[in-house]
């Protein structure tokens, strides 16, 4: 019985993906977890792996086609199924000789089994269509794509609410955004620990009518930009963020890091400050697992593995892939994993799980001379640690002025899961670990 390979959900708000390229042809053998296609999401191109072993019987979604999540893009099955399957799906007529071959290859009942999934697929897709698809004409879709307009925001004036070319052309993003902002303000005013200084930026930009400035050039939104916009708005509207900051004395950590790197330089090991932070977060998350959990309406969903997501600035924008199941990794292993993640993110060969599997995130702007910043939580995660640069600062030790390497760190957390005290406990634990770095190495 053939297995249907379906468009995977890569990212919690992904609705559809584009089949960029098939790496296997129809009829070729595929192994379990072997990459068979490249799928483009809003974020990047990722390799799509076959969940079944066998022969690629049929490519349902051709290259370039956009397929809703959950719909079949290919069929994998046994060698014998091939001759049976292709004609049944590809054309409605079959010659007598075809039929004869089919009779030889499979019995009547087997053939039904093979053909069944194809029919089901069609039914499934037609049933699911009305609920997930936006009604829009082809030309409206094309123009929306060109102008970077999210069709979800556009009201359709055509029959059945279908979005037409005119609807897209006359769409005013400003009016739509201001509606959203009203909602945002309402929801955030109910939130006790909002960060008011963050709101005015978006409001003033789009709704200040007193400024009659000449508009400059308009740059269309890339898919990734749209995605970032969607995710951050969703996060800041749905997740009541609160923030707890701490100054972390990295003096010992910097010394230790230098010693380790000097000793192990021949092995090609180079521990970074970020590696130490990753390790400190992992240990803190073990102690405070709520920061590694997802908020759901019916409860707090704890995660059994710790997958540390690392914000990486790419050419087109931000991605937050994760190093997976790193709860029991040594500092040295973690260092290697993070390096590998960065390399593969640059070459676009991250897998789906890495893109979506993060349970906690670290955003590090330490390479810039910034004191600190507040990060937006990456849904469905519940917390993110934002760290600034490590800089020499005067500190008071035992009543004496001294010079120390100070780093500011701020945890952003979802108030629905944890409260301020827990946020403080978490950041203090990170601080304790980093200020006593031997514990991270041993």
């Amino acid at each position: 019985m053939a297995t249907e390979l379906k468009m995977p959900q890569m990212g919690y708000d992904m609705e559809e993906g584009t089949v960029v390229r098939w790496l296997k042809e129809e009829g070729s053998t595929v192994g379990r977890n072997e990459p068979v296609a490249e799928i483009e999401t809003d974020k990047a191109v990722v390799e799509f792996e076959s969940e079944a072993e066998g022969v690629l019987l049929r490519i349902v979604a051709s290259e370039g086609s956009i397929v809703p999540v959950g719909e079949t893009i290919a069929l994998v099955g046994l060698e014998g199924e091939e001759a049976d399957n292709v004609p049944s799906a590809g054309s409605t007529e079959s010659t007598d000789s075809d039929t004869a071959i089919r009779e030889e290859l499979t019995s009547e009942s087997e053939r039904h089994e093979v053909q069944e999934p194809i029919r089901n697929t069609t039914q499934e897709s037609s049933e699911s269509t009305p609920t997930t698809r936006i009604l829009a004409t082809p030309v409206a879709r094309r123009i929306a794509d060109e102008l970077g307009i999210d069709l979800k925001q556009v009201a359709g004036s055509g029959p059945g609410g279908r979005i037409t070319k005119k609807d897209v052309e006359t769409f005013d993003p400003a009016s739509s955004t201001s509606t959203k902002e009203t909602n945002f303000e309402m929801s955030s005013s109910e939130t006790p620990e909002q960060s008011p200084e963050e709101i005015p930026e978006t409001v003033s930009e789009t709704t200040d009518p007193s400024v009659n400035s000449m508009p400059g050039e308009k740059e269309p939104l890339s898919r990734m930009r749209q995605q970032i916009a969607r995710v951050t708005v969703k996060s800041k509207t749905e997740k009541p963020h609160f923030y707890v900051s701490a100054e972390i004395d990295m003096t010992k950590a910097m010394v230790l890091r230098k010693q380790v790197n000097d000793q192990l330089s021949d092995d090609g090991v180079r521990i970074t400050v970020n590696d130490l932070i990753v390790k400190a977060c992992i240990e803190s998350l073990k102690k405070y697992p709520k920061f590694n959990a997802y908020f759901q309406d019916d409860g707090i969903q704890f995660n059994n593995t710790i997958n540390i997501a690392v914000a990486i600035a790419g050419e087109e924008g931000l991605i937050v892939p994760a190093i997976l199941d790193c709860g029991s990794k040594t500092l040295r292993e973690l260092s290697q994993m993070v390096k590998d993640l960065a390399n593969r993110s640059a070459s676009g060969t991250l897998n789906n799980q890495e893109y979506t599997g993060g349970t906690f995130a670290i955003s590090n702007l330490g390479m810039f001379d910034v004191t600190g910043f507040l990060a937006i939580i990456h849904p469905p995660q519940s917390a993110v640690l934002a760290v600034g640069t490590v800089a020499e600062k005067p500190v008071v030790r035992d009543g004496e002025l001294a010079v120390a390497n100070i780093m500011n760190a701020t945890i952003s957390a979802d108030h629905r899961i944890v409260d301020g005290v827990e946020g403080a406990e978490f950041i203090v634990e990170v601080k304790r670990l980093l200020e006593n770095p031997m514990g991270l190495i041993v």
């Binding site: 004409t137 082809p138 030309v139 094309r142 004036s157 029959p159 279908r162």
Partner: protein, 325 residues
């Protein structure tokens, strides 16, 4: 320019053929002594004589086959099949012989045969005499199918047909014979496979041919009163087919309606519609609409017959409803 009715434009084209090419002769039922069932060849027998204006028995397979045979050996015959309904009697000669001989003889033979015939309904001639089969013939490789809608096109297209070495179905709509139009006095030809923009417009493209062009133009006028600017395309020939003009128009208007008199199932409008969406999918601002007669034999009663032939109101309603205009 001279104003004339389409019947006279066809007669003029036939006389030119007879006058300028002595390989040309006419053959068909009642075209001689009677002057033609639709009076196209009135006076021809007197002017050209029995050798060149040949009345035939009621045996379409015979005289169409004879026409094909004459064309094979170097004549330029013009055969009249009284109506396209009767061409079914000769369909084997048309499809299996005339259309195939050039291919099957590796080009050694050609069949420069023009089959003039009358198509369309609307004249209360009932189920067996009111049909349109030019879509059937358009599906046969090796045949050309010419479907003029104006006197000017009838003359200009016929002149081109005379120079073509392929068998041609030249279908004249019975209700168009009395349609008036300007015809240039100087000599002109109209190429096969070049559609005509009968009326320019911006909001919707109405593709039509033969008798439906007038209906489309009437619909365009009514749409204009509603503030909707319709572009009407007259295909002129179904084979060869000028898809480029259609697609260019749809790229401009983003909407397309294909209007055809015959039944919807298997109608040529399906070929046009599928081509449009294949080539210009991303240009479409709505479904490609097909307006065809319903899949029923033509009724005799006038009111029911009129109800099944695509009308201007039908087009207007389809456009406003389906495109939300």
């Amino acid at each position: 320019m001279t104003e004339m009715i389409l019947r006279d434009a066809v007669a003029k084209a036939l006389r030119e053929a007879l006058d300028t090419d002595d390989r040309t002769f006419l053959m068909g039922e009642d075209i001689g002594a009677y002057g033609g069932p639709y009076a196209v060849t009135r006076g021809f027998l007197e002017d050209y004589g029995e050798d060149r204006i040949r009345d035939t028995p009621i045996a379409e397979a015979v005289f169409v086959g004879a026409g094909a045979g004459a064309a094979m050996i170097g004549m330029r015959p013009i055969v009249e099949v009284m109506t396209i309904n009767f061409s079914l009697v000769a369909i084997d000669q048309i499809v299996n012989h005339a259309a195939k001989l050039s291919y099957m003889s590796d080009g050694q033979l050609s069949v420069p045969l023009i089959i003039r015939t009358v198509t369309g309904g609307g004249g209360q001639l009932a189920a067996t005499h009111s049909q349109s089969f030019e879509n059937w013939y358009a599906s046969v490789p090796g045949l050309r199918v010419v479907v003029p809608a104006t006197p000017q096109d009838a003359l200009g297209l016929f002149r081109t047909c005379r120079k073509d070495n392929n068998p041609i179905i030249f279908a004249e709509h019975s209700l168009l014979y009395r349609v008036r139009g300007e015809v240039p006095d100087e000599y002109y030809e109209i190429p096969l496979g070049k559609a005509r923009i009968a009326r320019p417009g911006d909001d919707v493209t109405i593709v039509s041919y033969s008798g439906m062009v007038r209906v489309a133009e009437e619909a365009a006028e009514k749409l204009d009163e509603l503030g909707i600017s319709a572009e009407v395309i007259d295909l002129r020939t179904l084979s060869p087919l000028d898809l480029d003009t259609v697609v260019e128009s749809v790229k401009k208007t983003n909407r397309a309606v294909v209007v055809e008199e015959t039944w919807k199932t298997g109608g040529f409008s399906g070929t046009i519609a599928s081509n449009i969406q294949e080539v210009a999918f991303d240009e479409l601002d709505g479904p490609v609409l097909r307006i065809n007669g319903p899949d029923v034999p033509a009724p005799y009663a006038r009111n029911i017959e009129q109800a099944m032939i695509p009308s201007a109101d039908w087009i207007v309603e389809s456009v406003t409803y389906n495109f939300g205009l």
